[in-house]
């Protein structure tokens, strides 16, 4: 569900014929096809409060879209401009934090200021950081960011701040702007199909936890394949009954296929340790084989004598094992 945010009623004019007043403690809220529209009034606080209130009250909202005007500080394309990154300045200097919108194609930046800017020197200073200036967009983006929802900020750059005067043809043109917003919205959001989430198909007869699903996807992507080999899947299905165990085995096979060097080291270590494991020696390698400490434990009662147990440990091929862990084995 979308939340459309406007600052002035006149800017929302072309959207309102399709809007129905929404019963909500805040005035200026409407339902529209596919979402909610709000008109917050001027300033950062109303914008932040309105968007936050709506996001809190309607958890179905997954996208915040703001339309409004911005003062042009630099040459910019005409028409509706999508904002890439938003900064804010409460005083004379911008704050460090910024918010980047969900539009990966956007190229222009915007700075939201607390007060209308009349000082040309200040506008030059701010133009180092962004090509547009407004008062409300950062609040809307901040709320969306806080609620971890997508945010799109669209601006029509208008006035430039020159000689201390702000050109004010905005009101007369707001109807034109509103129409431009609607056209832009229809082209980019209303009819836009929901982005398809690249879901991978999980094989039947396996049970995946969220983490395992992530791993499975990663291994397939790394191998540049869409799904695991059907023969491999059948092999695992036939060999193992339990869906959870099947998944573990499948992931282990895929991991080894993607990491043949590690797989070779593991294979060599398994071969090396096999006679000891056979005698009941439990061998624990260091985490990720990062150090040389190998722990051996055994149940003495399983050995005919202490001497034999001691001899088994004494004969353990530690150096060979360390060499393998250290990557010194013949080519693959």
């Amino acid at each position: 569900m979308q939340l459309l945010h406007f600052v002035h009623r006149a800017e929302a004019e072309f959207f309102l014929p399709r809007a129905e007043p929404l019963e909500f403690p805040l005035p200026g809220a409407y339902t529209i096809p596919g979402g909610i529209l709000i008109i917050s009034g001027e300033g950062a606080l109303p914008s932040l409060s309105y968007v936050s209130a709506m996001l809190g009250a309607y958890p179905q909202i997954d996208t915040v879209i703001h339309y409004g005007l911005a003062a042009r500080l630099a040459p910019l394309p005409h028409g509706v401009v999508s904002v890439r990154t938003l900064y804010q300045a409460n005083g004379s200097e911008p704050d460090f934090h910024s918010i980047t919108t969900s539009d990966a194609q956007a190229r222009e930046d915007l700075l939201s200021v607390a007060r209308r800017l009349l000082d040309p020197e200040q506008s030059t200073q701010f133009s180092h950081f962004a090509g547009m200036l407004d008062r409300e967009a950062y609040g809307a983006a901040f709320a969306a960011h806080l609620f971890r929802q997508k945010v799109f900020i669209y601006k029509i750059p208008v006035d430039s701040v020159e000689n201390g005067k702000v050109c004010t043809d905005i009101r007369n043109l707001s109807s034109t702007y509103s129409q431009m917003y609607l056209e832009h919205y229809e082209a980019n959001h209303q009819n836009a199909k929901k982005e398809e989430t690249a879901e991978i198909e999980l094989p039947e007869g396996f049970y995946f936890t969220v983490h395992q699903k992530h791993l499975y996807k990663k291994y397939l992507q790394y191998a540049e394949i869409d799904s695991a080999d059907p023969e491999l899947l059948d092999f695992v299905r036939q060999g193992i009954k339990h869906p959870k165990k099947r998944t573990a085995r499948l992931l282990e096979i895929l991991r080894k296929e993607n990491n043949p060097i590690e797989a070779r080291a593991e294979e060599l270590l398994d071969e090396l340790f096999a006679p000891y494991r056979h005698k009941g020696v439990d061998i624990k390698l260091p985490d990720a084989m990062e150090t040389n400490s190998i722990r051996l434990s055994l149940d003495i009662s399983r050995f005919p004598s202490m001497k034999e147990a001691a001899e088994t440990i004494a004969s353990f091929p530690r150096e060979q094992a360390v060499r393998i862990m250290n990557g010194s084995f013949s080519k693959l």
Partner: protein, 342 residues
């Protein structure tokens, strides 16, 4: 257009280096500011801003200009320092630790070379033997050298100080500016090389590996000392064949004798960088493989894998005729590399 906006610190307006750079970058929007720190890194400018052109700052570096290099930085035995003459890079290697490092992808060029050289002189005086100075800790040393024209002044210093050794580290084939300078025995131009397909995939905008190899060959024939960094090595199924090819080309282009050293390192990064890579290059193959946290906290390939790669590449180099004393393994703490290596 590269650098559509150039920010210049007001007191550098007439600095010869600034004027030279401006001459090479005509038609830019020039903005004068008090200090680069008033704008650069002042706000968090996401790395994705690189898609649009980045700004250039011409500034004066204050504070320490020459810093001690991290351990295992270069050939052991001599002290190693790096000096700061530029922040950020025009290339885009996916594994580069500079992404997001300065909170801005814009580039800063420091033009107060004299002060850098003065600090180098002082550093040199603290030691009796050779001292290495590395450029390229925060940027590529040659990528913009034809515009910045910054190396001649350093040449004067190194010509007069044979104990001082300079390393210019690069992934660029841009040797136009260097070709105007005479080779010095204490200056090494070191090329970072990767397997071709790895470079094409992960080192965007830098010169293709073949172009780097050719540039290396030209410099070597002109008499320049050459260094090579085979770092980071990234695993692919054909990695060993790719490095065999590379070793042969290195030998053909530069010859064994003009190569002072070859460093080898496997891909590694800290978790913070891993997050940045994920954010800046969603879905990159670089992060689709498994890494472990090694004893120094860095994410690396599991030890058998990375050590196998390092040793195999070392063997390839030895087979190609490069002497073992010129090969060193970079940025692996000693206990990781050599503890069990007879």
């Amino acid at each position: 257009m590269i650098f559509p906006r150039i920010f210049i610190e007001k007191n550098l307006e007439n600095h010869p280096a600034v004027l030279k750079i401006l001459q090479k970058l005509p038609g830019r929007e020039i903005r004068y500011i008090d200090s680069y720190t008033d704008v650069f890194g002042k706000v968090y400018k996401p790395f994705s801003h690189r898609k649009k052109n980045i700004d250039l700052f011409l500034a004066q570096k204050k504070g320490s200009l020459v810093r001690e290099a991290p351990p295992a930085y270069g050939i052991s035995g001599a002290p190693h320092y790096y000096f700061i003459h530029t922040y950020n890079c025009v290339f885009e290697c996916q594994y580069c630790y500079l992404q997001g490092y300065f909170h801005s992808p814009d580039m800063v060029v420091f033009v107060n070379h004299e002060e850098i050289l003065e600090e180098m002189q002082n550093t040199l005086a603290q030691h009796s033997g050779d001292v290495w100075f590395h450029a390229g800790e925060f940027s590529d040393s040659l990528a913009l050298s034809h515009i910045l024209d910054d190396w001649p002044v350093f040449w004067d210093f190194f010509r007069g100080n044979p104990r001082a050794r300079l390393e210019l580290r690069t992934k660029s084939a841009n040797i136009r500016a260097l070709k105007q300078l005479e080779p010095l025995p204490n200056v090494t131009v070191s090329f970072s090389l990767s397997a071709e397909r790895t470079a094409a995939q992960f080192e965007k905008k830098s010169s293709p590996v073949r172009a780097r190899l050719r540039a290396m060959g030209i410099l070597s024939r002109l008499g320049f000392r050459i260094g090579i960094h085979l770092d980071p090595i990234i695993y692919t199924p054909s990695v060993l064949q790719d490095y065999e090819w590379l070793a042969e080309r290195m030998r053909e282009e530069a010859g064994i004798n003009s190569i002072d050293y070859i460093s080898i390192g496997a891909i590694r990064f800290n978790s913070d960088l891993a997050h940045k890579i994920e954010k800046n290059y969603p879905g990159t193959r670089l992060l689709l493989t498994d890494y472990v946290r090694s004893v120094d906290g860095k994410l690396r390939y599991a030890r058998p894998k990375r050590m196998f790669l390092l040793q195999s590449v070392e063997e390839i180099l030895l087979r190609s005729g490069f002497p073992s004393h010129r090969i060193y393994i970079c940025m692996e703490s000693d206990d990781l590399v050599y503890s069990e290596k007879e």
